[in-house]
């Protein structure tokens, strides 16, 4: 090999690569992104917490931040460019036939190929250097006063180390694999398939899939398997948030696994390049490398050929050929046949299809619902949840195969013949379209097959093809046609493969950006990435009209694109002079006139759709009304005194099919204040035909302020009341903007209405959240430390309990549930009227209706969609057990019947209205619940607990108070699970909640429980999991019976009162029930009034037997890495505690020996434990009774001493 010749090739390739527009595009993109990060408009994050680059507190310049940037940049953005440049390097020479010329020179294939690889790799290392320089410039050199708090001191190592450790191996890997694939196979599609496959595998699996049950050894295998090393970084440093201080000051410590990963994947890159070059070398001057057998066969065929008669000399006339032009479809069919065969010869398809299927399987099997509970997949849920992934994959395939299809004749030089064939361009393109349709069909069928297998494995739900045919077939058809014809039209316009790729991928990227930033609406939602919300209870009823119009719009655009593609398809090469003339005004006008018939339908449909959306609940009309409401009333009414609702009497007629409703009724309003009220403000919805009365007399409110002001003839003195009557109708058929579902709705298959907000029923007073968006959003209210002292208002619902009577008329086959008890129920013709009355006052009311089956228990009832009976028994058990045990623990349930009603999954929440709990399909009803996990029981128990913690006890409106609702519901669930399902179920639930908190907490943002208001990232897991655990530990600390007595008394104290409960009220109240008040105070200080964390680590564990047949003595060094101080059990254990297979005889029975210790935060302690058995492990808190971070570190295998 001549080094000189190799370097000539390398230099040439290096220069050529750096001159390519593609590389300049990459550089521009990297500069822009670097600037965006420096300005805080772009964020890069692999892990959770404030480690996210661009986050509020973490330095953008820390080594962790730069490592994340390098990882994401090089493995996502660089990948496509590097793959294209490296992979196509030799292919391009081959296609341009330059290779043939080079073959005649002394240049050896190895010199040529290694030179190419060296040149292109070096070019991308130069790009990396420029990228690094840009980051240093933007992040550390150029001044930026707005970002001072996220800029740390400049350290060269923060930039260089990630570049060398992460970026260089990634570039070597990407360029090596792409070069190897491109050079070895000379197939461009494979060059793109490989990086996409890796990216998808990494982004959707390797970087994100980390269930709590995954063992450490398998986790390390996956870390090693990630070519980007992103999983290693995430799992080692980012998954459990260590706080900004750590990330800002520490260096990334690389371990042996990391170095092994880097070395392995760099070697894979270089190895792939070597293999590709080896194959290339073998075929450099021959079309094939052949085995001896193949050579023999070829020789035999050649001799047979030479022996054969040399062709026929018969005349052509004897062939009796006839010719008649083919029809459109026959031509298209013929073209599709050849095109399909060419597509089938592309290896990319065989790579993509399994990948797509794997991805869909992965997504489906890891689908989660409330509290991360796995979902039971029905065909419709599966088809709809995977629709976006499916669409994305097929669209990506269409980009590459669509362009390749258009290029095919030109690339193979068949165009010289093909363009003169007596076929219409339309038929030819139709053939290509059909062939691409086959690609779509193959992908869809493979995915459907995979889905059928999922259903089969689930064993609970029957498979049905209908939802797949509807969502992946019928609904996707316009997307397929529109995008494919768009690719066709773009190609015919620009006639360049790479520009077409760029434009098509740009459209995809733009759509992704619009989706993420919520700018996508029904008119622009061409890929239906959002907007299609499936419910098994009714097929595509929500926004159906908009959906149909959207599909028609994109079909009509497909026609327009089609027209453009067929007009511009270059069968005759245009003359330059005539092209110049084509830009004259008259010619342009003529072109427009000809195109205009094809634009009429898209324009009309688009305008209609846009208008409908603007009239919808989140359209411009509603937005303007909301803004006006906010602007005109904020100053006057936000802190104004309002009277309270005492009684509600509502007649409600619902027409689900038409999505209309009529309301008539009245509110009994009482002035509980000392002052006289002259005006009563009511916030109203977008209703029609409104009529109002006051104590029976007609009244005309002042509507100028968008808040209806009722000026009373008789001012409302203290204790006085007035009955405001109303009558109006509403119509909710106008579409939303198409980004998903709706919290409350009327659709043909179900109804959910509540009195939270003014959507359905008049809302007494001013609603401060209306008209607030990102433009006028304000920081959460700051409360003083003693905010809870005195009478505090309720955080939701009425301020005092009220009586409610709802008379609901629905279609005859509907069941309508309200709060309270049924007092009358009748069917007249096609309507069903039911009247509900509260048997005990309530603080809020709702209406849930649908076509239900019902299962009843003791004072309980479950209303569910007839096909969703999977978890009904488990949920009813939860209902019955909750009524019994929660009643016993927290106070007798004051209402007669407790019911749960299922509603269509247009939203994924559950709401615990008194006596009438509403559950979305995915919560409980479609939870994948197994005897081991009891997840349907769990979510039901949580929601039912809100009858006590939320209804009987209304939290106050202030920080920390919501924990009395959500945290207490979790605590109740933990208790009930153990009570009903036993020790193991209780232990597993506590572990589950602990993991959710550990994974979801934001170390820097976490505040003490008293201050949690839901406004900070990570507040969610504190409100639910940490609070639930804190109440659990409190009960353990003060004794469960004491705690339950205190809690029962606490509810009784606040139930129905004017003052509402704050967390501070709770801790003050419970003190009286604590046997050890000093211990209690210490606990409250640590867990309610400061942010405390327990994190134990077993540093060493050794054991020896004291005497020949005597007990064992284990010595363990324990470190409390956290800052809290709690008594905790430490034990030595042996055997399997809860074997999955109870029929199998355990190797050794489970045994544990415990001792209790207390270690302060940061301290270490040596603990000695004696056990009558040989210990296997030292485990801190084996019974899971204290909340720990990183529990996996709190156990260690015992070594012999």
């Amino acid at each position: 090999m001549s080094g000189r010749r190799l370097m000539v090739v390398a230099r040439d390739e290096f220069t050529l690569t750096l001159r390519r527009p593609m590389v300049w595009t990459l550089l521009a993109l990297l500069l822009l992104l670097s600037w965006g990060i420096a300005e805080g408009v772009v964020q890069v994050a692999l892990g959770s917490g404030d480690a996210s680059v661009g986050g509020k507190k973490a330095f953008l310049t820390s080594q962790f931040a730069i490592t994340q940037i390098m990882t994401v940049f090089t493995f996502t953005i660089y990948t496509f460019f590097a793959a294209a440049a490296a992979g196509l390097s030799v292919i391009r020479d081959d296609e341009s036939r330059a290779l043939e010329v080079l073959q005649a020179t002394p240049l050896r294939p190895t010199e040529y190929a290694w030179g190419k690889f060296l040149g292109v790799s070096t070019a991308f290392l130069v790009v990396l250097a420029v990228n690094l320089a840009a980051l240093i410039l933007f992040l550390s050199v150029l001044p930026n006063a707005d970002m001072l708090d996220v800029r740390g001191p400049f350290a060269t190592g923060n930039y260089l180390v990630p570049a060398l450790a992460i970026a260089v191996p990634n570039i070597l890997f990407t360029t090596g694999v792409a070069f190897g694939v491109g050079t070895g196979t000379r197939r461009s599609i494979l060059v793109f398939a490989a990086p996409i496959a890796l990216l998808v595998l990494s982004a959707f699996f390797l970087w994100s899939w980390s269930p709590t049950w995954l063992s450490e050894s398998w986790n390390r295998v996956l870390m090693f398997a990630d070519p980007a090393a992103a999983r290693w970084l995430s799992e080692t440093y980012l998954k459990v948030d260590r706080g900004a201080e750590y990330y800002n000051t520490q260096r990334v410590g690389f371990d042996a696994l990391f170095f092994a990963n880097r070395l392995f994947w760099s070697t894979i890159g270089l190895g792939a390049a070597w293999l590709g070059i080896r194959r290339f070398t073998r075929t450099y001057r021959a079309s094939h490398a052949m085995s001896t057998g193949q050579v023999s066969a070829a020789l035999a065929a050649a001799s047979a050929w030479s022996a054969a008669p040399a062709g026929s000399n018969a005349t052509l006339a004897s062939l009796q050929m006839t010719a008649a032009p083919l029809g459109m479809w026959a031509t298209a069919w013929g073209a599709a046949g050849a095109e399909s065969r060419e597509l089938a010869s592309r290896a990319g398809l065989y790579l993509f299809v399994p990948l797509i299927v794997l991805q869909l399987l992965g997504n489906s099997l890891t689908a989660i619902g409330a509290f991360d509970t796995p979902l039971l997949l029905t065909p419709g849920q599966l088809a709809s949840s995977q629709m976006q992934a499916m669409a994305t994959f097929v669209i990506l395939l269409l980009v590459f195969y669509g362009v390749e299809s258009m290029e095919r004749e030109r690339a193979t030089r068949l165009d010289a013949i093909h363009d003169t064939l007596p076929i219409s361009t339309g038929a030819l393109l139709a053939g290509k379209l059909l062939a691409l349709g086959v690609v779509w069909l193959v992908v869809a069928l493979a995915a459907v097959l995979a889905s059928a297998i999922i259903m089969l494995v689930q064993r609970k739900v029957a498979f049905s093809l209908v939802p797949f045919a509807l969502l992946w077939g019928l609904l996707f058809l316009p997307t397929f046609l529109a995008f494919t014809t768009f690719v066709f039209a773009t190609w015919t316009l620009v006639r360049n493969r790479y520009t077409t790729y760029g434009i098509a991928l740009g459209v995809l990227g733009l759509t992704g950006w619009a989706t993420i930033t919520e700018r996508l609406s029904w008119p622009t939602n061409w890929a239906l990435w959002t907007g299609v919300r499936w419910t098994d209870m009714g097929t595509l009823e929500f926004d159906r009209g908009a959906l149909v119009l959207n599909r028609l719009l994109w079909l009509s655009l497909a026609v327009a694109f089609w027209r453009m593609a067929t007009r511009l398809y270059p069968r005759t090469a245009r003359d330059t002079v005539s092209l110049v003339h084509a830009w004259s005004w008259p010619r342009l006008w003529r072109t427009f006139r000809r195109a205009s018939p094809f634009l009429v339908a898209p324009v009309v449909l688009g305008a209609t759709l846009a208008r409908q959306v603007s009239q919808g609940p989140d359209g411009s009309r509603a937005e303007k009304v909301g803004k006006d409401y906010w602007k005109k009333n904020l100053a006057t009414w936000r802190d104004a005194p309002f009277p309270w609702l005492k009684g509600v009497d509502v007649d409600l007629t619902i027409e689900p099919a038409a999505r209309r409703y009529r309301v008539s009724g009245s509110y009994l309003i009482v002035n509980h204040r000392d002052t006289t009220l002259r005006q009563i403000p009511l916030t109203v919805g977008l209703w029609k035909e409104m009529r109002w009365t006051a104590d029976g007399d007609s009244i005309a409110p002042d509507t100028a302020s968008h808040l209806y002001l009722f000026t009373l003839q008789r001012p409302l003195g203290a204790g006085d009341s007035v009955r405001i009557g109303f009558r109006y109708s509403g119509d909710v058929s106008a579409p939303t903007e198409g980004r998903g579902g709706a919290g409350e709705f009327i659709i043909p298959s179900g109804v959910v209405m509540t009195n939270f907000g003014p959507r359905w029923f008049p809302y007494l007073g001013y609603e401060p959240s209306i008209g607030v968006d990102k433009d006028n959003r304000f920081e959460p209210r700051q409360y003083p430390e003693d905010w809870y002292v005195g009478t505090t208002p309720a955080s939701f619902g009425s301020q005092l309990p009220m009586t409610v009577r709802t008379r609901i008329t629905v279609p005859g086959d509907f069941i309508a549930n309200g709060v309270g008890e049924i007092v009358s129920d009748s069917v007249h013709g096609t309507t069903h009227t039911v009247t509900w009355e509260t048997d005990h006052p309530v603080m809020a009311f709702n209406v849930v209706a649908g076509r239900y089956a019902v299962k009843r228990g003791a004072g309980t009832a479950l209303f569910y969609h007839p096909t969703h009976a999977y978890n009904v028994d488990e949920m009813l058990l939860a209902l019955n057990a909750s009524r019994r045990w929660y009643g016993e623990w927290f106070g007798t349930y004051p209402w007669k019947t407790l019911k749960i009603s299922e509603f269509p999954a247009l939203a994924g929440y559950a709401q615990g209205f008194p006596t009438n709990i509403s559950f979305s399909e995915g919560i409980g009803f479609l939870t994948k619940s197994e005897p081991k996990t009891n997840l349907a029981f769990m979510v039901s128990a949580h929601e039912i607990a809100h009858q006590w913690w939320g209804n009987m006890l209304q939290p106050a409106n202030g920080p920390g108070a919501n924990l009395l609702s959500e945290g207490m519901a979790h605590f109740s669930t933990m208790l009930l699970m153990e009570q009903e399902k036993g020790e193991r179920a209780g232990l597993e639930l506590r572990t589950r909640f602990e993991s959710r908190w550990g994974d979801g907490r934001r170390a820097d943002a976490e505040r003490k429980l008293y201050r949690i208001d839901g406004s900070k990232a990570g507040d969610g897991v504190v409100t639910y999991e940490k609070a639930g655990w804190t109440f659990w530990m409190l009960a353990e600390r003060m004794g469960r019976d004491n705690a339950l007595r205190g809690m029962k008394a606490f509810i009784a104290r606040f139930q129905g009162g004017e003052d509402h409960a704050a967390l501070e009220d709770f801790t003050a109240h419970m003190r009286a029930y604590a046997p050890d008040t000093a211990g209690y105070d210490d606990f409250v200080r640590q867990w309610f009034d400061t942010v405390s964390v327990l994190e134990y680590k077993v540093e060493t564990a050794t054991a020896r037997r004291i005497a020949a047949a005597g007990p064992w003595e284990t010595e363990a060094l324990i470190h409390n890495v956290g800052n809290a101080r709690m008594p905790v059990d430490i034990g030595v254990v042996t055997g399997e505690r809860f074997p999955d297979d109870s029929t199998r005889k355990a190797k050794s029975p489970y045994a544990q020996a415990l001792t209790r210790i207390t270690i302060s935060g940061g301290d270490t302690m040596t603990v000695t434990i004696r056990s009558p058995f040989e210990p296997e492990k030292v485990v801190i808190d084996p019974d899971v009774r204290v909340l720990q971070l990183r529990r996996k570190l709190a156990e260690r295998k015992v070594e012999p001493r």
Binding site: S287, A304, W305, A308, A310, G311, S312, N313, A314, T315, L316, A317, L319, Q320, M321, T322, A323, A324, P325, L326, A330, T331, G334, A335, G337, A338, R341, E342, S345, R408, T412, R413, L414, A416, I417, H418, D419, T420, L421, P422, I423, S424, R571, T572, A573, R574, D575, T576, V577, S578
Partner: protein, 297 residues
Amino acid sequence: MLSVRQLVKVYPGPVAALQGISLDIPSGMFGLLGPNGAGKTTFMRILAGVLEPTAGSVHLDGEDVLANPEALRASLGYLPQDFGFFPHLRGQAMLEYLLKLKGVTGPRGVSALAAELLERVNLAHAAKRKVKDYSGGMRQRLGIAQAIAGNPKLIIVDEPTAGLDPEERLRFYRLLAELAQDRTVLLSTHIVEDVAVLCRRFAVIRAGQLVALTSPHDARVQLAGKVFEGDVSPEQLDAVRRTHRVTQAVLVEGRNRVRIFDESGACPEGFEPVGETLEDAYFLLMHAQPLTAEVTA
């Protein structure tokens, strides 16, 4: 009858590839001769409807083929100079595909017809091989097979014998000759012998201009008794070039074997009379003045 009027083609550069060619091409085999870069392929591509001219018109039996290329395509058999096929299709499948799109069939169906056509071009043995494994000559023959399929009124073949061995070339001559009996076959080549063997009439274009329109016989007859051949030393060659029109000079064993044309018919010293060939005529025509439209039309 194919009628071409004032055909002009200017490529960006600008390069005037055709400078107003007018020509009537009757039924039968018509040759188009010219050196490399003369504009032959441009001319053929325009006639085949794959290239838009800058100006001019082309009519086939009165039909304006530039305005209505679809009409031409239905009656065209075209073998371009540079072409390819779908590499992963087998020869038979590729030909079948093209026959289907052309709407061509035979009494026993498209497959049988494709097989027979492959036999006519001596490719039957390679029918099952993928096209990407074909040699250049085999690909050329597959191209010929598709061009002659059906009953096209007009056949345009651009350098059709390039890459063919003598046997296949003769086979192709025979096929073309058969086709030319009742239709127009336009043969573009720089191999003068092809035209001499096959064409009743031919045109010569040079630098985008038509310089001759004649028949092989007429072209040769004009030279009768005026072509001489002799050996000339390298030193004498320039002098001969100054005094005579040299049609060929080949260096053999240190001396030039030179053919010259002398209008007067007087044999120069050291030369002897030889029989005139079309190649002689071609070389002489290459120096002729461009013909006017009135002459050619």
